[in-house]
Amino acid sequence: MSQPPTHDTARPARDRLAFDRYDRWGLGALLGLFSAGAVAATVVAPLVAWARGSDLRVPFFSRVEVPALDSSGLRPGQGTYDLIVADAAPHLRVLDLLPGLGWLALIMTGSWIVLRVMGDVGQGDPFQQHNVRRLRILAGLLVLGCPVVASLQPVVTMAMLADLDLGDLTARAAFELPAFAMLVGVVVALLAEAFKAGGRLRDDVDGLV
């Protein structure tokens, strides 16, 4: 007697690493928290300090003279000074806010772009022209925007110090090139080109029966 045909009724295994709507919500929450933290650190905290009349801290580099070391034959070089300004003038407070506002603009714009691109990834249709554009903008923000904003800090520091009496110290402010962010920007630019190629492949199968 022949056996009736059996059907494999087992469901296909779920791809646990697939980017679904829960991951999209989680990413949105994560980026939201990150942006909120950036707002708190770069805008809210300085404004609260200003409202309270707290001292303003202005770090800078200058030569260090230590007579005890000089007498032992050692010659110290540059040191970091933390200038504490009491009753800082309003324009100093505003200058102090500027670099933070620059970073905040970068973080929020970048977060929004990532969220929109990953939204299309979650929908299963990522290789659209607007995502190529978004990724190129994100790459530009990282490769060009980050160094520009990073250069704000020494400029602002020197502007703040120009109004302050440092005695015979010659102040210098350090510029730290955000090399890692720029490298990530290059990777994002390469990803944009991959998305562009994906868009061409997508167009090839558009309307394919």
Binding site: D204, V205, D206, G207, L208, V209
Partner: protein, 76 residues
């Protein structure tokens, strides 16, 4: 002719279905292609067709490729 130019291939699926007295849904079920995709083909909105799909349609409708698709001459 560059690939990007619009094509002049017409699909006669509606005529074949009518002559075989078969619905689009029945053909879709027999061929293993979605009704949506077959509708795209029937309404001349398809840009490309897989050979496997073409073979399946011809088998089910008992026709040749030339019965299903034809190319019109270029406009002067």
């Amino acid at each position: 002719m560059p690939v990007e130019d619009p094509h002049r291939v017409a699909c006669h699926l509606d005529t074949l279905l009518e002559s075989r007295e078969m619905t689009l849904a029945a053909l879709a079920d027999a061929v293993g292609v979605t009704v949506v995709n077959l509708s795209v083909l029937k309404n001349n909105r398809a840009k490309a067709i897989r050979f496997s799909t073409l073979t399946a349609i011809c088998d089910v409708l008992d026709c040749q490729v030339g019965d299903l698709l034809s190319s019109s001459p270029p406009q002067p």
